[in-house]
Symmetry: none
Subunit: 201 residues, 4 copies
DNA sequence: GTTTAAACGAGACGGTACGTCAAGTCTTTAT
DNA sequence: ATAAAGACTTGACGTACCGTCTCGTTTAAAC
């Protein structure tokens, strides 16, 4: 949400508070349209407002533009960060990759894609997007660092590159699906194992 | 290009032939707008027509819609497939990854991203996009298969998954750039080596 | 004012009494906006509320809608009905025409104009408007009738038509100003004299 | 109409010419909405476009904003300037007043009223409005001047004031109708005669 | 050399969505 | 109970593109 939740002492704002119902209805409408429409282009602010039974102004009061709304919708798709209680770094990695490509991986990929061009230009938008992505990347880095410490991973591992090697294939599979020739079945496990094992003979 | 170059006897069409100059001017205009505008959303058919000094109908005579035009523009960004004369499969892989992320990798990523939602719906568009992507993927598979045969790569290598592990990180780096924490410097070599070496200790 | 100041026993209302300051501030804000903005369209309820330092609801508690508020503002512009102590009906007419086109004739014309379309539809609004206009028209009729009685005006004078011939030009001058080619200087006197004298040779 | 009908040699504009059908449909729609809606506020660009079966852009291509469109609609309401073949200036005046308050006098008054606030601010709009009004005023002045020359009117007649005294009451009657107490029946004749005759005994 | 058919630049067409603004209503907290 | 603040739905505003459709003008092959 973009609402100005002031950090500090939370002084109660005057006037009628924003309807939490509306918040929910709007995001629900976005997800519903995304699911039925197949195309992020089909998710127009007007149709979201109509589907949510809400005025356009109610949307623009909360988000500065369409892209910001989509970013928040994306956050809703992502599952919560999984706990790390795994017995090994390998298992933790598999769990995290699995969580990242939750039930809505396809929609997530599509919307993210649509957002990308705007992210380049609007720094504020970019910041919002990073706020969704970065915690997951950081979690992945933690796992990798711990794996290095415990000796499970090689000592000279390039952490950032490895994060890219775990999230890049996952995203691409989400975007192109079957065209890649890779089945979704057991993908996280296979990916992590291939990465660990290496390709050389 | 989508032009109806009939396979058969190539009967010369009557009337004025299409201007090759226009073809070029249009694609040039797309690339120029992409470069200056930073955003695929800023590339409108109207602005392309204006920049190319061409009527809108001249564009729609060649491409069925905006997306098809963007796909052709994407093809222009990609360099030609590199020769495979490398002394090792490793070097060939590096060369191919390098070629794929040509001078315009950023723009390529952005445009591809914008196209994705439409690719899901329009099979014809999807076909056009595959025509650009598939040869490169196939080339990569060839290299991998040869590496397996020569014993450079392990015998049980999952070819499709490995293609994804080479192209996914590359695309993600193109899309998110510095936010990934990975420098563009020597990226292809580092990626291939990390993949070969594996992450386990 | 439309406020429900019950005629009868003036029972002291419970709760917080209405602020008389607010009444005044609101009408002042309307007049101020009218003066600075040049346009009745620029006088929005929102800007009135902001300028008056008042909530919108405070306005709507007093007037049923924007038009009603404007009508009340119009009343404020009009000067009070002048006394009729003139030595002749001619002088009384001049005094009345002068009073009608007070210092704010221009604003008055504009606002009246904006109100007109709504007056047709809303009978209540129309009644309110008549309550402002009718006393002045009636006063004019009185003068005319007295002039007929005293022999100052011709016996067959059409009272209603003459009222129209005195107020119509005045209103039009207020609306179109210099475009009419008639100077504001001494207008009431000239109008009344031209009306008395007649145009035929 | 706002179209750039260049005065001189009428160089043919490139591109598809504007549809005369659309011109007509749009103005017809405005008049129809005005007639049925009773209120100029009910004439929105969107409803005009819908009623005319036309895109909004087609309207905005011809008129810069809503007000300019209404002004052109006003012109359509006014009948053509009548010929002046009358045997006397009095008859010519009656004919002209009659023509000015054509079949749509009520709508004309309402729309003009709605336009007034904007006329003050936008000089271009004002120019367009004058282009509709001025020819009629000038025609009236011609009649008055001729009447003075022929001795039908008094030599010291104030032409501009007299124009105001003929058009002002007419406009006011159009705006307020029955509330003025003056019947529409034979109004032009009665007005002109009252003006000629004068009010003094 | 005509004819002729298609391509050309230009720009109007009916639409859809954008992001803004105001009207009039409703809901909160403070007085 | 009223006040100020501000959220709410509704709907018009004017703009920008989309993809299609005339216009009148080239251009090159076919006659």
């Amino acid at each position: 949400m973009t609402s100005t939740t002031s950090a500090g002492q939370e002084r109660k704002a005057p006037g009628r508070p924003r309807s939490a119902q509306a918040d929910e209805a709007i995001l629900d409408a976005v997800l519903a349209l995304m699911a039925e429409g197949q195309s992020a282009a089909a998710v127009s602010i007007e149709s979201v407002a109509a589907k949510a039974g809400v005025g356009k102004a109610t949307i623009y009061r909360r988000w500065p533009n369409k892209e910001a709304l989509l970013i928040d919708a994306v956050r809703c798709m992502k599952g919560p960060l999984p706990a790390l209680g795994g017995v090994s770094a390998r298992e933790d990695l598999i769990a995290l990759v699995t969580a990242n490509r939750s039930n809505r991986a396809r929609e997530y990929g599509i919307v993210t894609a649509c957002l990308l061009p705007e992210l380049q230009r609007d720094p504020e938008l970019n910041r919002m997007h990073q706020a969704v992505m970065e915690p997951r990347r950081e979690r992945m880095r933690e796992i990798l660092r711990r794996g290095v410490e415990t000796g499970e991973f090689r000592a000279d591992l390039d952490i950032h590159l490895t994060v890219l090697m775990l999230s890049g294939p996952s995203m691409m599979l989400g975007m192109f699906g079957d065209a890649t020739g890779v089945p979704e079945q057991d993908f996280p496990e296979k990916l992590v194992d291939a990465l660990l094992r290496g390709a050389s003979a």
